[in-house]
Subunit: 213 residues, 2 copies
């Protein structure tokens, strides 16, 4: 399998964790989101991923986009360890936590949005940071409240799930933008527990072949 990835992309980071948890070997193909005006906009990559976003997974069946769709595909194809509980209501709770991050939090602070804010809208750095912190704070407040109901060692009880695969990259992202995590003890605890696992640690941005540290 080939994963078109960028070291700091939250969405690619989620898929890397899933691949590691399932012990699947894959080749990373770096797509530099800032170099050459954004390599994700190249015509070769656009043909693979019309939305010009990372990640894209390519296997013998073809190419897949959207991190959560890719992870569910991996989970259905390589069921061990499973990333969703078996019972439908519990599955829905886990998926909702993942979507809280993937739909309502991450897209608002994504690179292309920040580029629009500082480009088209000519916001200064302070305004950009306020935007980022606004959505992070709203999202983390809601997540903390939900996780207080559902978390054990991980986001949903004591088994790693799809929700953790979204949480850890989002916390990484929040720390980059200096969000103070003191108000989020449950998020912090789960994040810490996940990072003890090699599958998460090895998926970290700094561990990637294209990392610039």
């Amino acid at each position: 399998m080939k994963l078109y990835s960028y070291w700091r992309s939250s969405a690619a980071y989620r898929v890397r964790i899933a691949l590691n948890l399932k012990q699947l070997s894959f080749e990373t193909i770096p797509v530099h989101l800032l170099k050459d005006g954004g390599q994700q906009h190249s015509s070769a990559y656009q043909a693979l991923n019309p939305a010009e976003l990372v990640p894209t997974l390519v296997d013998e069946q073809g190419s897949l986009s959207q991190s959560l769709a890719i992870i569910e595909y991996l989970d259905e194809t390589y069921p061990e360890p499973r990333l969703l509980p078996q019972e439908p209501f519990a599955r829905a709770k886990v998926r909702a936590l993942a979507l809280d991050i993937a739909c309502d939090l991450h897209p608002l602070n994504n690179l292309r949005v920040l580029q629009y804010l500082t480009g088209e809208l000519a916001l200064d750095e302070a305004q950009k940071l306020r935007w980022i912190q606004h959505w992070l704070t709203l999202g983390f407040n809601a997540l903390e409240q939900k996780l207080q109901q559902t978390a054990g060692q991980y986001c949903y009880g004591d088994e790693v799930s799809l929700a953790d695969l979204c949480l850890v990259p989002q916390v990484y992202n929040a720390l980059r933008f200096k969000l103070d995590l003191a108000a989020y003890p449950t998020i912090s605890r789960v994040n810490h527990n996940c990072l003890q696992l090699a599958a998460f640690a090895l998926a970290a941005p700094e561990q990637q072949v294209d990392a610039q540290v």
Copy 2:
């Protein structure tokens, strides 16, 4: 079942279509997103849905948030008619189309974002409309390209799927904001085909008990 809904919410609209397709009876509980400073921010609703967003589905097992998690739950619990293909790769393609809309398109033009643009950032109406059209155009360009590969009568072949449940509300939303659909023949065709089905037609915003037309 109870569905906390707002007539014009795209996310609630998706769930209404799913409930109708599966012929499940439900009670609509209107949450007015603009009245009383936004009824989604009331403490009663916040306890049910910490992110203060619609929809929320409540059944005998409890409350669920996030439209896509709710729809997958309904699909697992009431499998007929199924909203995802059976084969994993095809399921992933359908989920990716749904997520293209639910993650990368809809959240950027959601009410709370537009309120931030005109409030905190003091954008005028023309700037707000440019923001909306920018993300709609990017998203629809990518979708049209993908649907040209996958669509038959509906988004993915000739069976209604989760992707259609996201597409139709997104097209409704785009038309509200005057997006010209001439460049999107496949999107337009699929949208038209879906709206011929009673499950879609009856889920339309104007058909809801809380519609203000």
